[in-house]
């Protein structure tokens, strides 16, 4: 019996629930050090910790009999693959959130207007499948979905007309700087099962042990697209943009501190970055620049679409983008020489630790070789170039180490010191490349002289600061 448990936002309450259910898990507490866990109460159970978004997929493909995750991710899977083998067993009474289609207050994206409107409706979301069903259901005639790793609310109005986001309460939308267009879904933590396991295995005791500890709860429902707002939001004209303004994207997450230090060294002030309130549009004293804070993973694609002029991201994500879109105009302008990590191929201890050995290993066995990674395109290219065929790439959303050895055979991971990999009892086959933070821009450059000069000037300032390090 195998169960997939969430890390992240649901970790604390899920751990508490399982404690009340007396599972006595050895490794699933408020901090997760190891991804594998055993239960005293159910000795035949193996629990494994995943990023929440991976759990419905892992359960659907049959790697896990049971799982706990937000119902938003179950619906996201079912939106594209309605015949997935996932059964929603019961809501767990915590982790409530709601998915809203949102727009910028300066440019309310009313669905009706969109339908008749000219031009393409761009929707940014961590939930691309639900975003697409929304677009189809509302008969948007031209739409593009931008899957993003996070911070979708930062995209409207410049980078997208709408963003599909998850919030704990509707009131939170205002803080995130967006207005609701339509509420799609109420969600909460759910116990889910693989359909075959649910029909064929005895999961009764395990499920009952959780069920006893729950308050009675109502089934969450999908709202089939009735717009709840905004009937009459006045169309305010968007703030007038100066065509010479340079649009700079800065990273959120752990790259914030080093980025702030580097900019500080150049004498560039950014207010409220990193922001305690999640402000994604910090002010800057830099004349002629605007700043937006988004995920570094999402920057190259945004740059390719002309939504930014400069961005600070990692070479790993630039390369991931260029592997997917070889003719993209995005280029590295400057190596910032910080945040150094290695992209490595990793296997468990039992597997050969060189590529020829892996090839022999693959040739001898019947199953498809599985390569798990957050870097889908780099992983695909690696497996293809190294002829690790027949292989399959398993996209993950983090905690990739958890996939070895049961749910994948090889990982493509970034590592700073290699310690995490060693701690999970894994070994490195080889380093694929080294990645550092870098400044990226468009190969086409800016056509307007003032803008071009502004870009060249900041690149020069940053280069001086980097060379001084």
């Amino acid at each position: 019996m195998k169960i997939a448990l969430p890390k992240g936002r649901l970790l604390k309450k899920t751990a508490a629930l399982l404690r009340r259910a007396s599972w006595e898990l050895d490794e699933y507490h408020e901090e997760v050090r190891f991804y594998h866990s055993r239960s005293q109460k159910f000795p035949h159970m193996l629990a494994k910790v995943f990023h929440e978004k991976d759990i419905p997929i892992q359960v659907a493909v049959g790697n896990y009999d049971l799982g706990i995750c937000g119902s938003d991710w179950v619906e996201e899977l079912l939106a594209k693959y309605p015949s997935s083998s996932v059964v929603k067993l019961r809501p767990l009474g915590y982790g409530e959130c709601a998915l809203y289609m949102t727009a910028s207050p300066s440019q309310p994206a009313m669905v009706a207007a969109m339908k008749s409107g000219d031009g393409v409706v761009r929707i940014a979301s961590e939930y691309p499948n639900l975003a697409e069903s929304f677009a189809l259901r509302h008969r948007l005639s031209l739409f593009n979905i931008f899957p993003v790793w996070g911070g979708a609310e930062a995209y409207p109005p410049e980078g997208a007309e709408m963003a599909l986001i998850s919030v704990a309460a509707e009131a939170e939308l205002g803080q995130r700087g967006v207005v609701p267009v339509s509420k799609l879904l109420d969600c909460e933590a759910f116990l889910i099962a693989n359909r075959n396991s649910w029909e064929a295995s005895d999961l009764g005791d395990v499920v009952a042990s959780i069920g006893d500890k729950l308050p009675a709860a109502e089934e969450s429902r999908i709202f089939t697209g009735v717009a709840v707002a905004p009937e009459k939001i006045a169309r305010r004209p968007a703030a007038k943009k100066d065509a010479d303004t340079v649009r700079l994207a800065l990273p959120d997450g752990h790259q914030q501190q080093p980025t702030l230090e580097l900019l500080g060294k150049c004498g560039i002030d950014i207010d409220d970055y990193p922001s305690a309130t999640g402000n994604r549009r910090p002010a800057t004293g830099l004349e002629g620049f605007t700043v937006k804070v988004i995920r570094p993973q999402d920057m190259p694609l945004q740059m390719a679409n002309g939504n930014f002029d400069l961005a600070i991201t990692g070479r790993d994500w630039l390369r991931e983008h260029l592997y997917q879109f070889p003719s993209s105009p995005v280029r590295e302008l400057l190596d910032l020489k910080q945040g150094r990590v290695r992209l490595v191929a990793v296997v468990s201890q039992e597997l050969p630790d060189d590529v020829p050995g892996l090839r022999q290993f693959i040739a001898r066995r019947a199953q498809t070789f599985r390569v798990a990674s957050e870097y889908v395109n780099i992983a695909d290219r690696y497996a293809r170039d190294k002829r690790l065929g027949p292989y399959r790439v398993v996209p993950t959303w983090g905690a990739t180490e958890a996939f070895l050895p049961d749910d994948a055979d090889l990982l493509i991971e970034n590592t700073e010191t290699g310690r995490t990999i060693a701690r999970h009892n894994l070994k490195i086959v080889e380093t694929i490349f080294e990645s550092t933070a870098c400044l990226i821009g468009s190969a086409e450059g800016a056509s307007r002289p003032v803008k071009r000069e502004r870009i060249e000037s900041i690149v020069k300032t940053l280069r001086a600061a980097v060379e001084d390090i």
């Binding site: 189809l136 008969r139 005639s141 997917q324 879109f325």
Partner: protein, 422 residues
């Protein structure tokens, strides 16, 4: 690891290809005879082509094969063509406007995801489009053309079921449903859910009275439509123009001796249909369908150009036709067996096989292995003299022959015997 065929996809074996080509050949001959010209559009198109207003139902769009191309960073996805008509309309707008009417046909595969993987996800269609003509005669031409193809395929009894998209929409509009509900019911009918209206009736008894005309519009004559018109025109004046247009087509078909059945609520087809819809059945099996789509080309920015078309489902026809009745006599086959491995002799064998092919025979060298099925003639080629021996498996005879001309004479003489009545 075992190499597998992709789930939901289909191979066509030599025998199946022969059947496929028979159907394709009959379809092409008929279309060319009616003045239609063949086109072929790319397998990959932009998804936008199919999402633009009212071209495919959301149900169908949810099952297209779409992906990002290598330069698709803008998010513009491409699809494996899920429909044959829309790409042809695009081609027309791209490069053929001002050539009305355009009579075009195609034999293409389309791709639609099908959940179980038991039915094919790749389907072959023989389609014809008549662009730039909006009359009842144009509708009738397409019905007649499709029936001619099916007749020449010797399919036996084919049932023509008629409906009318405009009439259906007008009747749905009279139900007092919200526009979303109307669109949803219309889409369900188009997606082939014949029960959609019955469900609506069950879930909403208040609609009973209003739904009756929609459910009851079934009959087998134009007279029936005329009477319905008299009955409905008082309450639902909005439907009169649609009924009139439908009646024009139906009367013409009747005059042409075409048998049909009218069932307004069974309009399986495409969201882009605006007028007459026809479906073709052999027994219970739907083997094709078509209709008028006057709003499609305008909605794609191609100007106010009416159009209609149909498609026959080649995969289904392959199971229904009897190839033996349709195929002409198979060309006679001669196996050239080389009795020496000397290059000179082999070259002579290739040469003689070439001469046989020129004379209309199927001729190839024996490279070992199993002989072709139904083989009658084996021509031995050797280095010595006489250079040839011709074996007749059917007659059990074997002749030594000195020159290729003699071989041909022998084959011809035997062939004449073969074809003469016993």
């Amino acid at each position: 690891m075992k190499i597998q065929k992709c789930k939901g996809m289909r191979d066509l074996s030599p025998a199946e290809m022969a059947v496929f080509r028979l159907i394709e050949g009959v379809f092409r001959d008929c279309c060319l005879g009616w003045g239609y010209r063949e086109v072929r559009t790319p397998t990959i198109e932009y998804l936008h082509l199919f999402t633009s207003a009212g071209t495919l139902t959301p149900g169908m769009l949810g099952r297209v094969y779409s992906f990002l191309d290598w330069d698709g960073w803008s998010g513009d996805r491409v699809v494996l063509r899920p429909d044959g008509t829309i790409p042809v309309a695009r081609l027309y707008i791209d490069s053929m406007v001002d050539r009305e009417p355009a009579r075009l046909f195609y034999v293409d595969n389309i791709f639609i995801f099908e959940e179980t993987g038991k039915k094919s996800r790749e389907r072959w269609q023989c389609g014809a489009e008549l662009i730039g003509a909006g009359s009842a005669a144009a509708d009738a031409e397409l019905v007649a053309l499709s029936l001619e193809v099916l007749k020449r395929l010797k399919l036996g009894e084919v049932e023509v079921k008629l409906s009318h998209a405009g009439l259906m929409k007008a009747l749905l509009a009279s139900l007092g449903l919200s526009p979303e509900e109307q669109a949803s019911v219309f889409d369900q009918i188009l997606d082939g859910n014949g029960e959609a209206l019955a469900c609506l009736r069950a879930s909403n008894p208040a609609l009973e009275g209003a739904l009756l005309p929609l459910l009851n519009l079934k009959g087998q004559s134009a007279g029936f439509l005329r009477n319905s018109r008299a009955l409905l025109a008082q309450h639902l004046p909005g439907i009169v123009p649609y009924l009139d247009s439908f009646m024009d087509t139906v009367e013409l078909l009747e005059a042409m001796g075409c048998k049909y059945r009218i069932d307004i609520a069974s309009g399986a087809g495409f969201e882009y249909y605006t007028g007459m819809i026809f479906q073709l059945f052999a027994g219970d099996e739907k083997i094709g369908g078509g209709g008028r789509y006057d709003a499609l080309i305008p909605s794609m920015g191609g100007g106010d150009i009416p159009a209609s078309g149909f498609a026959l489902y080649a995969d289904r026809l392959m199971n229904l036709i009897r190839p033996a009745e349709l195929a002409g006599p198979a060309p006679k086959q001669v196996l050239v067996r080389v009795e020496s491995q000397e290059p000179g002799v082999l070259a002579a064998a290739f040469n003689v096989a070439g001469q046989l092919r020129q004379a209309g025979y199927v001729a190839g060298l024996d490279l070992g292995g199993r002989e072709p099925e139904g083989l009658r003639w084996v021509l031995g080629v050797r280095g010595g003299k006489p250079p040839f021996s011709l074996e007749d498996r059917a007659g059990g005879s074997r002749a030594e022959v000195g020159a290729i001309g003699e071989v041909l004479e022998l084959l011809e003489a035997e062939g004449a015997d073969e074809n003469s009545p016993a």
